[in-house]
């Protein structure tokens, strides 16, 4: 089984040289720590920064330089600033190559629910609905089951939807799955995880074909 860093590490293997990437808050943010040495990946922060650098040292902290999670960050050579309309323009026009998001639930058609829990204070969708409606390549990073042990990979989402048919791949603590017309296609198992464990933890349509390799991370 993978921990949060393991999930981030596995997702980092989907990166390609030259990619522009938007990383959501939480586990997705950790992906930045595993960008392969020598690979040129540019991080987009939807509040108006392309080319996000690491967190600042104490001396570098600048209140006018934050990321979409409101954390202080830095720039890199080649960074650019822009307004929010331009930022979502690049997102909607499909210029971001890869978007990594957390989710509360997904279903076997690629719908995602990650912004609202009925009965709880709703904080808002932020940029999530724009991202899921436009990104051509969305990977979801999440635990396979919730704290009650129930599957988060469903036939139908029970929570309010953030976007329809947008998730292409999901990486959980248990496995990597592609989402295709046939449902969740099991592609790789986390170390120590069996197909049986994935079957038990997946409520949506599951496709298991041939030998499923254990992932390299």
């Amino acid at each position: 089984m993978l921990d949060k860093n393991g999930i981030a590490k596995r997702i980092a293997r989907e990166l390609k040289d030259g990619y522009y990437v938007n990383l959501g808050i939480g586990v997705p943010t950790l992906v930045a720590n595993y960008i392969p040495e020598g690979m040129h990946v540019t991080l987009q922060s939807e509040n108006g920064l392309l080319g996000m650098g690491p967190f600042p040292t104490e001396a570098e902290v600048d209140p006018d330089l934050i990321n979409a999670g409101k954390q202080t960050v830095t720039t890199l050579p080649g960074s650019s600033f822009f307004d929010s309309a331009t930022s979502f323009g690049m997102i909607r026009s499909g210029r971001v190559d890869l978007t990594v998001l957390g989710a509360m639930e997904i279903n076997d058609r690629g719908d995602i629910a990650n912004w609202k829990i009925p009965g709880k204070m709703v904080k808002g969708m932020g940029g999530a609905m724009d991202l899921v409606a436009s990104a051509k390549n969305i990977i979801v990073a999440m635990m396979h089951t919730n704290k009650a042990g129930e599957s988060k990979l469903l036939t139908e989402c029970t929570l309010p939807i953030t976007g329809l048919g947008c998730v292409k791949k999901v990486v959980t603590d248990l496995c990597v799955m592609d989402i295709t017309d046939r449902g969740f296609e099991l592609k790789e198992l986390a170390p120590g995880v069996t197909v049986e464990m994935v079957k038990n933890a997946t409520a949506g349509r599951l496709v298991v074909e041939g030998e499923i390799p254990t992932m390299e991370i």
Binding site: P63, I66, T72, S84, F88, M125, D130, A133
Partner: protein, 231 residues
């Protein structure tokens, strides 16, 4: 024709109860601190505020929530604010949640004289309720409208007396589109310069969009998530 006013109190004095305001900023970054303080001093009420966030309990728009000056927030994300949550749950405060890109584009549309446009964000979700849906090239979109606001209040880094503005870093965010969108636009700036001191090629918002400008004072620039690395 002088756009320069002495301070925030003078800048906001024509704002009346019940008006709709746009306020720039993302989180606490790039917010019009001086103008918010002046609105609190002034005590104007029943405001509808269009702003990406609603501040925190004791800073930003949070200060106007505490004094019950806000009737309705139109935002994309309103976390990090206990007083907000209390007023919302008690029904004292209305909130309309809008996808962040749609919020930005509805501001931009207002400033560009575009009354409505199609965007994919929110299709198939509760955001789509009551909205026109249309397919373009096999993909579904919602019709969204330009915001109508009485005043836009923005914060820039540098400005000149003609109203030209330059923002700094990610403090730019919603400020340029809101500056362009306001029926009347108020800009507060850290440095107020003479015309010609800003390079024509580097101006982010041309002065034509700005009606009142003043030099702000005592910027606190509070940081929400101070995150540092050891080096």
């Amino acid at each position: 024709m002088n756009k320069v006013v002495a301070n925030a109190d003078e800048a906001v004095r024509d704002i009346k109860d019940g008006m709709t305001l746009m306020l720039g900023g993302f989180g606490l970054c790039g917010i019009p601190e001086n103008s918010i303080a002046a609105l609190v001093r002034m005590g104007v009420k029943n405001l509808t505020c269009i702003s990406n966030n609603a501040g925190v309990d004791d800073f930003g728009i949070g200060l106007m929530l505490k004094t019950r000056q806000v009737k309705k927030m139109i935002s994309s994300y309103v976390g990090e604010n206990d007083e907000f949550e209390r007023q919302l749950l008690s029904g004292e405060l209305e909130v309309e949640l809008i996808p962040q890109g749609t919020l930005a584009e509805r501001c931009r549309a207002a400033g560009a004289g575009i009354p409505a446009f199609f965007t994919p964000a929110g299709y198939g979700t509760e955001v789509a309720e009551g909205k026109e849906v249309r397919e373009f090239n096999g993909k579904m979109y919602l019709l969204e409208h330009a915001f109508d606001s009485d005043f836009a209040i923005v914060k820039a880094w540098k400005g000149d007396t003609d109203g030209n503005l330059i923002f700094k870093g990610t403090a730019r965010n919603f400020n340029p589109m809101m500056a362009m969108a306001g029926k009347i636009t108020i800009a507060e700036v850290e440095e107020l310069l003479e015309p010609g001191e800003l390079a024509a090629n580097e101006i982010h918002v041309p002065g034509i969009f700005v009606n009142k400008i003043f030099k702000g004072v005592n910027y606190e620039k509070r940081i929400e998530q101070r995150t540092v690395r050891q080096n």
